[in-house]
């Protein structure tokens, strides 16, 4: 790794780059998808490649290749410089980077059980058994279980002398049951939808989430949903479970506080932001009890790492403090615009992509009490769990989320189940209606392994530390 990285770096500099950073990555992925006791898909993928990003003529260029022979690496490094020169045809000003410390380091996340050393048949058997339990429940026609594991070895160098090796193992798993009757399909998932829970941990995560003990319960809920009434259309008090608060944070706080979006750099694809640079310290994002941090240093979060893909150390920063916007997610290029240094959120999807500003672990800091306390404290409302769909406008203001299941709350108690719940709102108004956040005992870092951004499209692994929260006067049951 080291040899080819330096070969690329030296070639780019000799060829005219004024700045160069190189990532050589080897990665392995294992994915297992079981449906109704059959292995439907088993992914075993190994790949390696090099990504070379340069500044030449004051503009950016990037070239990557999976063909790692000496000649091709030299040609790829030269190509990166040529691309940068081409970019400069439309240049308005030279790209400037905020200063970053020279770092020589290695980093790896703590792992108790290496998931790639756990026998495949053990993993498959667990998922088969979970789906067997679920399909025994009435009307559950489809039961799915999945596990995903990633191992990434990343060697990073730049022309400022930084040299970092990181070794990261990530694991995830979950189950879903589908109750199906003519004209109705209802899904319940555990511990979360879209693949379950993901963390920077080993197989110990799979053991802890205990899929088998939860299979019967979610299957029964999927079945019960078929007979449940629709979520009514009304304005009411809404309690969201932690996993949905995580997605709410993701879409309405994480993305709009990315400084590249704010500066218009994502305008043609994902969009911009309702926030402007001048809003920092002024914008009332939400209620007084709303405190949002970006923290890549948290143990086990899917957005945790040692150093970002510009070689900047992982950091914890405030984004919203007592309801006021106080920070952005930045990289070296955008931090320069503010006259600051990067807060270390620049990451790339593999060797083949450039690093972009990505969420780390964006967290709603915990309040007090348990979910049980919160429900007891609520006279009337709806408790919604587990995301089913999401949609938000290009400035991240108007959102609508669908969830798998809801319970009506009457006089501090959960009563009947409601199907097809959803809610909608406008970002600052919604967060302004936040009046309770559960405490540390309910707080958990939810992993989101599929955050899309950029062109070519990149998927990032990010996390959100959240606990259940209550919002007042929310429109639910959009039909």
């Amino acid at each position: 790794m080291r040899d080819i990285a330096y070969m690329a770096l030296n070639t780019a500099l000799e060829y005219g780059a004024t700045f160069c950073e190189v990532r050589v990555i080897k990665s392995r992925r294992q994915g297992i998808n079981v449906k109704n006791e059959l292995v439907e898909e088993l992914i075993d993928k190994v790949e390696e490649g090099i990504g070379i990003r340069v500044i030449a003529n004051g503009s950016w260029g990037f070239a990557g290749t999976s063909f790692l022979d000496k000649n091709n690496i030299i040609e790829t490094a030269k190509k990166a410089v040529n691309i940068a020169r081409a970019s400069s045809l439309t240049k308005k000003r030279n790209v400037e980077l905020s200063p970053a410390k020279k770092i020589i380091a290695t980093w790896s996340n703590p792992v108790k059980i290496n998931p790639f050393e756990v026998p495949l048949d053990k993993k498959v058997s667990l998922l088969i058994e979970a789906t067997r339990i679920m399909t025994k429940v009435k009307d559950v026609k489809i039961a799915e279980g999945s596990m995903d594991f990633w191992e990434t070895e990343k060697f990073f160098i730049n022309s400022e002398g930084t040299e970092i090796f990181q070794h990261i193992i990530e694991s995830g798993g979950g189950i879903s049951a589908y109750g199906i009757r003519e004209g109705d399909v209802q899904r319940r998932s555990y511990p979360n939808s879209f693949g379950g829970q993901y963390e920077t941990r080993g197989y110990e995560l799979i053991e802890e989430i205990n899929l088998l003990d939860n299979a019967q319960r979610i299957a029964e809920e999927a079945s019960a949903l078929l007979d449940a009434p629709e979520c009514p259309s009304m304005v009411t008090t809404l309690i969201l479970d932690g996993s949905q608060v995580a997605l709410q944070v993701h879409e309405s706080i994480g993305h709009p506080t990315e400084l590249d979006r704010i500066l218009g750099m994502e305008a043609s694809y994902a969009g911009t932001s309702f926030i402007s640079v001048n809003d920092r310290g002024r914008l009332k994002y939400g209620s007084k009890i709303m405190n949002i941090t970006a923290d890549a240093t948290l143990p086990n979060g899917l957005g945790s790492f040692g150093y970002d893909d510009e070689g900047v150390p992982a950091q914890r920063i405030d984004i919203v403090k007592e309801g006021i916007l106080v920070g952005f997610l930045t990289n070296r290029e955008t931090a320069y615009v503010l006259g600051e240094t990067s807060n270390g959120t620049c990451r790339a999807d593999g060797w083949k992509n450039i690093p972009l500003i990505r969420m780390t672990n964006i967290n709603l800091e915990p309040g007090t009490g348990t979910l049980e306390d919160l429900i007891k404290d609520t006279d009337e409302g709806i408790f919604m769990c587990t995301n089913k769909s999401w949609s938000i406008d290009d400035k991240r203001l108007n959102f609508q989320f669908g969830l798998e299941i809801a319970w009506e709350i009457k006089n501090g108690k959960l009563t009947r189940i409601l199907k097809n719940p959803n809610y909608t709102g406008i970002t600052p108004e919604f967060w302004g209606s936040l009046d309770a956040v559960c405490g540390p005992s309910e707080w958990k870092i939810w992993g989101v392994p599929n955050c899309g951004k950029g062109q070519p499209g990149q998927l990032a692994h990010v996390g959100h530390g959240t606990s259940p929260a209550r919002f007042r006067n929310v429109r639910v049951g959009v039909k």
């Binding site: 998808n33 059959l38 292995v39 898909e41 088993l42 992914i43 075993d44 993928k45 790949e47 503009s59 950016w60 260029g61 990037f62 070239a63 990557g64 999976s66 790829t76 190509k79 990166a80 040529n82 691309i83 020169r85 081409a86 970019s87 045809l89 439309t90 308005k92 495949l120 498959v124 026609k141 799915e144 199906i180 003519e182 004209g183 109705d184 399909v185 500066l263 218009g264 750099m265 305008a267 043609s268 694809y269 969009g271 083949k352 450039i354 769909s389 999401w390 949609s391 406008d393 290009d394 108007n398 609508q400 669908g402 097809n420 909608t424 899309g452 950029g454 062109q455 070519p456 959009v478």
Partner: protein, 435 residues
């Protein structure tokens, strides 16, 4: 250039059901924002997958290096995985070869400077408005060899431009995908997006409710793309997760609606075979409003006693067969006729961040973006603030009054592009508005 590696694996695995699938892409993407190129990338990538099936038990391994050591090790690992996975009782073997019309073209090299000049042309033609977008060139090669004798390789060259032009609080959008760079008229597209951006200032707020809408092709593409996700595949149908369950042979939309999976359409940009190496065939999905057919891969065709329609994804997969070349056949109207015939309605340029609410009822939700206007008395009256829609696609297609006469390619992120005309729909539900 890759066939030797694929054949090596098949020879080495002699006597075992084996499939080698390779896809490579030489891609350049020049991205611009705030009217300058801010990201510019080139990637050469390749992935080879080896699928081994032993008595119905499948093992699959993917690698991106082609040395003999890597290939030998991958084949060995795929075989080991196959030995420990449970057998699929519905394994029908690998497909046999069926002749495919290969239209292989030479690799087209386009240098980054040429692309940067095209971007500059676009930016200049916006007349100092704020231009953002991506110009992408893809050179895709796909090769499949299996132990039943399929041995096929082809390539696909595509150029696409997606751009947003902003004028303060207003914006316009254009999208184009063609087989040659020369077929994209950058100046004309820049003017289209700029004109729309200039017309969008000071939008008014309309209340949510049901409106007549004139959907430009990019907005129609969202509806057709999502319809394609929700039910034309034989696996979804079998699992009763398709909106077509109980409706095949029945009228599900207006008589005006004809939807095909149409790889042979002259405007289609498509490889002639699917991810199993079988020919992609034209399939009539909705004929004059009547649900007619599903799409199949080899396995689901066997289960249904039919021939594959060439709609396989890489095997094995969780999704089953899907349509790749959805085409809503054109009608007779111009966009102008749709607008002039509308007493009161909304013109939508495109939708944004759409997602499925209820797949059985084909209900989706999303936002309008980059040009939404109120139509009054047959004329565009005023821009309106972006609105959220929550709408059943089938109900929208059922209340379609006019269909555009020209087909355009529409892109929907993460879904295959469609060929669609503009539509005038008499009843379309908006459920919210943004600021």
């Amino acid at each position: 250039m890759y066939m030797d590696s694929l054949s090596y694996i098949i020879d080495k695995a002699k006597g075992i059901d084996t499939e080698c699938f390779l896809m490579s892409n030489r891609r350049i993407l020049t991205r611009f924002a705030n009217s300058y190129i801010h990201q510019n990338v080139s990637v050469d990538e390749m992935e080879l997958s080896i699928r081994v099936v032993l008595d119905g038990k499948t093992g699959k391994v993917s690698v991106n290096q082609l040395s003999k050591d890597v290939l030998d090790s991958a084949l060995k690992r795929a075989t080991e995985i196959a030995k420990i996975t449970p057998p699929d009782p519905e394994y029908f073997g690998l497909p046999n070869p069926i002749p495919v019309d290969i239209r292989k073209k030479e690799y087209q090299e386009i240098d980054p400077e040429t692309l940067a000049k095209k971007v500059k042309e676009f930016i200049t033609a916006t007349n100092s408005l704020n231009a953002s977008g991506a110009l992408e060139v893809s050179n895709i090669t796909m090769a499949i060899v299996n132990s039943n004798g399929i041995s096929i390789e082809d390539n696909l060259f595509m150029v696409s431009l997606e751009a947003v032009v902003q004028d303060g609080d207003s914006s316009g959008y254009v999208y184009a995908m063609e087989r040659n760079l020369e077929d994209i008229d950058f100046v004309s597209l820049a003017k289209t997006a700029s004109d729309k951006a200039r017309k969008g200032h000071n939008p008014i707020e309309l209340p949510p409710g049901y409106y007549t809408v004139v959907l430009e092709p990019q907005a129609v593409g969202t509806l057709i793309s999502f319809l394609g996700l929700m039910g034309f595949g034989a696996k979804q149908f079998e699992e009763k997760r398709s909106f077509l369950v109980g409706k095949l042979g029945e009228k599900i939309t207006s008589d005006l609606i004809n939807i095909w999976d149409y790889p042979s359409h002259p405007k289609a940009i498509s490889l002639p075979f699917d991810f199993e190496g079988l020919p992609r065939r034209d399939v009539i999905l909705i004929d004059k409003g009547v649900a007619k057919n599903l799409v199949y891969d080899f396995k689901y065709a066997k289960k249904a006693g039919k021939e594959s329609t060439g709609n396989a994804l890489p095997q094995p997969n969780t999704d089953g067969p899907i349509p790749f070349n959805l085409t809503l056949l054109p009608g007779k109207s111009s966009l102008e006729e749709m607008i002039t015939s509308t007493k009161r309605g909304i013109l939508v340029t495109r939708f944004h961040y759409t997602n499925i609410v209820d797949p059985i009822k084909t209900i989706i939700t999303g936002m309008t973006r980059d040009g939404t206007f109120l139509i009054e008395d047959g004329e565009i009256a005023t821009p309106v603030k972006n609105m959220r829609f929550t709408q059943s696609i089938l109900e929208a297609l059922n209340s379609t009054e006019l269909i555009g006469k020209d087909l355009f390619r529409a892109g929907e992120h993460f879904i295959y592009p469609t060929l669609v005309p503009a539509l005038k729909i008499n009843s379309f539900q908006f459920t919210g508005v943004t600021r």
